[in-house]
Each structure stands twice: as structure tokens, then as C-alpha cells.
Symmetry: C2
Subunit: 353 residues, 2 copies
Amino acid sequence: MSKFWSPIVHQLTPYVPGEQPKISNLIKLNTNENPYGPSPRALNAIEIEVGNSLRRYSDPTSERLINAIAQYYQLKPQQVFVGNGSDEVLAHTFQALFQHGMPLLFPDITYSFYPVYCKLYGIEGKIIPLNNNFEVDLGDYLRPNGGIIFPNPNAPTGHGVGLGVIERLLKHNTDSVIVIDEAYIDFGGESAVALIDEYPNLLVIQTFSKSRSLAGLRVGFAMGNPELIAGLVRVKDSFNSYPLDSIAISGAAAAMQDRTHFEYTRKRIIASREQLTAELEALGFDIIPSQANFLFVTHPQHDAVALAGHLRVRNIIVRYFNKPRIDQYLRITIGNDDECKKLVSALKEIINS
Amino acid sequence: MSKFWSPIVHQLTPYVPGEQPKISNLIKLNTNENPYGPSPRALNAIEIEVGNSLRRYSDPTSERLINAIAQYYQLKPQQVFVGNGSDEVLAHTFQALFQHGMPLLFPDITYSFYPVYCKLYGIEGKIIPLNNNFEVDLGDYLRPNGGIIFPNPNAPTGHGVGLGVIERLLKHNTDSVIVIDEAYIDFGGESAVALIDEYPNLLVIQTFSKSRSLAGLRVGFAMGNPELIAGLVRVKDSFNSYPLDSIAISGAAAAMQDRTHFEYTRKRIIASREQLTAELEALGFDIIPSQANFLFVTHPQHDAVALAGHLRVRNIIVRYFNKPRIDQYLRITIGNDDECKKLVSALKEIINS
């Protein structure tokens, strides 16, 4: 606390990201990173960019990257916004589109950065509980609001909703912006990008950190009506002209263009997820069917904190949230084959001892 | 304009950065980039980082970079904050330290992003005109305020104030934060970092974009009392956990450690500046003595816009600001020897034709 802080700073409850341990030899299944490396084409583009002139400012409009995303999704460049990770894109979205003096609706169990942004921008949040199956039920969102945001699939549950349900909500909710946070969409969900041309109040946010395996490069993006994108650009250009460095622009653009690597790795992760689900169910775990690159699991006979602790002494790190309703659950990232195998055998050992 | 925008968005007047033309063969003297490349040690560190795991999130605390900066300036790590370019550091500073219901004081002719941040965060700005010599006169800042910010040396004038004057202001102004934006300090000014331990309300902001020649990597930093830094961290962690990518962290840390390259290049730029000053004065230009890597020049017989236009057709691009008091000035970045030579001979040709 300090008299020099703006009053708002005293009220903040900053987000705490998953642990990034600095020791090696850990099986790190706690932050939903991709077990496979990024596209070799991305790495190559980065090498070339390093040889170019880092002494020059990067392109403030990130034109090359915006074009690559627009081309991938068959959109116009004016329908695409990019930022320094989807966290920055979300932050600008909260400030640019959600400050309307009416509550912003979002789920109780979801990405825990949403309430943090609400405090930062003085937005009232109205929490809508998941239903008893831990699902986002969009029927519960039909009430007056200054905006709606939810991830699809949701995190940390992995459960996804279909486009039909989303479209019903869009038809009813026409006066405020609906943001769908699709960080995990490529692992089995249906993207709402298909609905953008029809609904001027729909914004879809994605990231290069998961299915594109570039968490360390910090690139996220939003897609929607040019009017919404223009609002985001106004805030971005009042905050930081050059949020993406030259290397990130080139690397992400090349990653977007490499469909082969993208398809190959995401399919491997989906296959591993299905196999891991079966193996953990065989050990007695209850698992919410996942459309993401993680599983949200609970065991009727074993305490979640104890399980996480026993995994940790075996050098396996998973994510635990000390929060109501989910304090007996663990979120486990889908690793590579070897990591999955070691996880299963560690859990067997723990459960049978 | 859109009904979906938050009301604040309608009021914004976004910053317009200097042009980044996409054609080559231009002599680009408009955005104060460094004419020499970054440290080879930085490029090497980047290469190594690319070979590491970009699939992993970067370190949210940027520990390695913070340590490198702390070591360079002999500070504690808790006295250092890093961000995605000094623009992001400035944005967080405005939100974290300047929202006090009293006017923020800054010069009329200065970095034109300051009034933009004021609008973004609802801060009243009180503009203090430069004196008749185009100097920041800190005697004019002794009035009630919610904060003070000015660049030293100032941009676009290049004029710097000494530590004695700054310390006098700090002794009088103890209830609000004084931010010194030292983007250009390494080209001849005296850094106020030396005063940090004594004045808890002093924040010094620097960048890797100028003297470290890494504009394309987007790294800036702030130094001050741990209490001020903690306020910035609270805002940063409520906005974006990982503002710096892994490559930027490693590259900037290595650049900070390479004192030889830093000293060599900045001294070359200072020498070129002195020579260019003499040559332009010989052509009849009036020049404010510069402590930066640019000159702010006017010619009694030649219109500034016309000069800029004539330079542009000769593929030389300089910066012109269409603003009161300075609409007959050009800001010219110090280029390498060849660029300076071509600039002088082009100006000779234009003036003598």
C-alpha cells in the first residue's frame, strides 16, 4: 500500500498464473502448454526475422499477421485484431466493449482473469453458475447485461457448447457484445467465427499459445465485425502503438500458414486425450468429457490436494484451484505419450498404495 | 462510432506513430531508431532462445531481464519493472500512479502520447509551456498536481535538464509522483536513477528501442522505489501476466550485459550528432543543442514542410509535427555516416536550388 498509488490500485486482486518452475526434469502438466513444438516454418520465419533489422520498430499494424489470420479464416483484415497474448486482447476488450454501466455476465467456474479485468476497469461482474453437470447453460444468460463472456470450451472444465446454442443466444441478445474466448477451440470445439458475418455484436478471441504451440511468443487475436475491431484498435492505439515485436509477427504469421503441422499435432493431442480419459476412468476417476487439451478430473476416494502433492513429489505438476465447487478437482494438461504414460503409472502407484 | 463501444472509446484520440514505410532504399530518419544494429550478444541469446521451447509460457516475472537491469544500475530487483516497450510501461504508470483527481503536469511540446494516456485513464492534464528557448523549466512545475511527467532529454527538442534542477523539484514536490522519461538519456544526459534511493516518489523510465538498438523487440523498463514498482506490478498482473515473450527477455538481458557494444555505438552516434550539427549550421539551420539521437532544426529562409517534401522525393524521410510553436521545425534522426552525408548533400541541393 502506498499513498502514491492511484485509488484503483488498492482495490485490485491481480491474477496469479500457473506456476512456471525454473527446475528442469519436471513433467509439467499445469498450464495447458502444447507438448509438441511449434511449426518448423514458424521457427524458420523467426530465424530470418532475427537476421533482419531489430533496430527498426515493428509494424504497428502487424499487417502480415493480420493478413495470415484473415486468410486462414477467410475474413477481411478489418475483421481481425491482434495483441500481446490473448490476455492483452481480453484486457482491451473489457475496456473497449464492456464498460456500459450494466453487469457483465460470466460463469462462476471459468478463466479467473475475468473478475480481475472487471476490477481493473470498474465493471460490475454478474456471475452465472454452471449447471449441475458443470456446463455453461446459455439459457441462464438471457437477462439484462452490459456484455457476456465465456470460454468455449470452458476452462478448467473442458466442456464445450455447440454453435446452435450460441446462435440462439445471439438472436436474443442484440444490444450488448458477446465475447467467446476460444483459447481451446482447436481441440474439438466448433468455432463461432462462422457466425461473425451475421452477428455484429459477436467477438471471437483465440490464441497462439495452445494449438499453435507458441505460448512463449505471446500472440493472441480477436475476430468480429469491423466496428468492434475498430473499437479495439482505438484502445490499442491509445495504449501501445507496437504491442507485437517483429519476431512475434513473423513467427505467428508463419505458424498460421502451416496447416500440416497444426493438423498433425492437434490430432495427436486429441487422440492422447481420449486414451488418457479411458486410462484415468479405469483408475476410478470421474472426468468431464473434454474438448480441450486438458482433463478436469476428480476421484471419489482420493482427496485432490493429496493427489496433487503425491504427483509433485514424483516431479509431476498439475493444476489445483482452491475454489468452491471445484476443490476436489485437478486440471491435467495432455502431455506427450511418455508424459501421459508416466502420469498414469504415478497415479496407479499413488491410488494403490 | 458504434453503440457497442464503451463511452470512453468515443472520446479517445489515439496516438499516431511515425511512419514505418514498407518500401526499401529509404533513408529513414523519422523515428529515432539506432543506425547501428543491436549487440551481437543479444542476437546470440535470441538464437539460443528460439532453439528452446517456445511452446512454454515465458517467465511472467521476467526475472532474468530484471536482474540484468538491476545489476547494470546497481539496484535491487524490487526497484525494477519491465514491460512491452516503454509505451506499455508508461500506460501502466498513468493508470497506477497518476489517477489522483488533480491535474497531471507535462510540457506542451513533448512526447505526444501523454495526452492520449490522460484520455484513456480519465486524467486531467495541465500543460506547462516550454520557455522561450524551448526548454523544460522545472521552476514552472511548482504548483498543486496529481503527478508530473517529462522526458529528459525532451523530445522532439533534444534539450536536457541537469540533475541539480531535478533534485530541487523533488525536494519541493513530495506528495505526488515525478516520472522522468529517459528514452534518450544515453546520448548525453544525466540519468536520475542516481536519485532513486533518496526520493520515494521518483520513477525513471527507459527503453531498449534507442541506445540498445532493439526497437523491434519491444522492451521498456521503469526504476524507482519498491513501493512504486509494486503498484505497477499490481496493474500489470491485472492486465497481462506475460507481457514479454521469451525471446525479448533473453535478448534484452544480453543487450544490457554488453557494455562494449553499447558504449561504442552510443559514442559514434554522439560524434555524428556533433558533426551533423556543425554541417547543418553551416547551411543556415538553427538547431537546439541536442542531448539525444536526433536534431530539432529550423531554417529561417526555408519552410519546414517544403524541406520535408523535397527530402522525401530524394528518398529521405524526416519527422514533421503540424503543431503550434514547432510547425517550422523538423526532427531528424542521427543516421550512420553515409546517411548523414546523403542528408547534408540533399539539403545543400535543396537550399541552393
